[in-house]
Amino acid sequence: MKDKLSLGKLWEKFWETTVQVHRDKATGMLEFELNELENLFVVLIFGSFIGFPSPPAAMAMELLPYLEDELRIMVSRADLAQDPLGAIMGMLNVD
């Protein structure tokens, strides 16, 4: 009786993990896209830093307080720029 219960729980756990792995796989590409979008958004706002046309700087100033995470993405994205091919290959699980 006791054995049966823990076996059931184990199966449940296994099932949960499997589902999560597949979910992560399914959304991986979307997550990459989202990261790109958020990066683009913040680059649009602070484009003046890298010579893009950008909205009035004072407007960027107003948005700045809420852009902490996006700024983080922009910086890490800049790191990624050293090896864009590698990043894409990693994304597509090509070894």
């Binding site: 999560q20 979910r23 992560d24 399914a26 959304t27 979307l30 997550e31 896209e33 989202l34 990261n35 979008l37 958020e38 683009l40 958004f41 649009l44 706002i45 909205p55 009035p56 700087a57 004072a58 407007m59 100033m61 107003e62 948005l63 700045l64 307080p65 809420y66 852009l67 902490e68 995470d69 700024l71 983080r72």
Partner: protein
């Protein structure tokens, strides 16, 4: 009746003189009037022989005046942003941002933005207390830029809002498929997203300002009997028409008493009412001398607008 009036024109044509004379005239007619100088090089105080500041000062009965201090406005604005950043950011991120905030003071566009928020502040704070608010504007270049600012910025805001919506939608999609996805930070709904909220706020304020310039303001361009000020007035008219803002009238100031040059002005601005103020040879030495400036017809037109 349009409550707000702007006096535009090339430097030195008499924007301060005419706006002061108009404000003075209105106040003597019993209208409660506020005159505001937006020019970074203020001389409104000199006209009324009083020291003016960012706070309203009584100039005579029914007439108050203020000189908008743009540097103070920029400073206040940057301080707000800095405080907010300190409140929302994790400690280590803010260190590098300080220098960015400090150079903002000198970034092109900041001054125009400050003028806009100053106008918004004046109209929203003091609008109810006055029958009339008269703005004496800075020289053409800055004036045109701040009048254009709402239109240009709104294009940006629209694009950014659009983009933001896409980000939020994507976040929502990922969240639906995989509630534990590690990229999900912050909100995924439009109503909960602070950036979206802030952008919409900016959009509302900008379109309010655009409406103010377009529909609720009486714009008059001042011309002198010389080619340069006429050319500049024509340019102002065209630039404003591109923004869908239209001038209401033209003032021909310092006109020679023999009526010279009047024809050229009439030709260029035949669709607009033209009000002539003849040159005052004795000059204007005291605030009371402002009554010598001929503006009753201009005021009448303003009252009709």
């Amino acid at each position: 009746m349009k409550k707000i009036a702007f006096f535009l024109g090339k430097g030195g044509v008499g924007k301060t003189t005419l706006s002061s004379a108009t404000a003075y005239y209105l106040s003597r007619e019993g209208r409660k009037t506020l005159i505001v100088s937006l020019d970074p090089a203020h001389n409104l105080g000199d006209v009324f022989e009083k020291k003016l500041s960012n706070k309203r000062t009584t100039l005579s009965s029914n007439l108050d005046g203020m000189e908008v201090d743009l540097q103070e406005w920029i400073g206040r604005y940057l301080k707000d942003s800095r405080d907010e950043i300190q409140a929302t950011y994790r400690y280590n991120t803010t260190i590098n941002l300080d220098s960015y905030i400090n150079i903002m003071k000198y970034t092109p566009g900041t001054e125009e933005y400050a003028v806009l928020w100053a106008i918004e502040h004046v109209v929203k704070e003091h609008g109810d207390k006055y029958d009339r608010i008269i703005f004496d504007t800075p020289p053409t270049a800055l004036t045109l830029r701040f009048l254009a600012m709402p239109t240009i910025s709104m294009l940006w805001v629209r694009e950014l809002l659009d983009m933001r919506q896409k980000v939020l939608k994507k976040r929502q999609t990922i969240l639906n498929l995989n509630p534990e996805a590690h990229v999900i930070r912050g909100a995924s709904k439009v109503e909960e997203d602070r950036i979206y909220g802030k952008l919409s706020g900016i959009q509302t304020r900008l379109s309010w300002l655009h409406q103010l310039f377009k529909n609720d303001s009486y714009l008059t361009v001042i011309i002198n009997p010389d080619t340069l000020s006429l050319a500049e007035a024509i340019r102002i008219r065209h630039e404003l028409e591109k923004l869908d803002v239209h001038i209401d009238s033209v003032c021909f100031n310092k006109a020679p008493s023999d009526g010279a040059c009047g024809e050229e002005v009439k030709q260029s601005f035949h669709r607009f009412p033209i009000f002539t103020s003849v040159y005052v040879p004795t000059g204007l030495k005291t605030p009371e001398d402002l009554v010598k400036v001929e503006i009753p017809e201009l005021v009448e037109d303003m009252e009709r607008s």
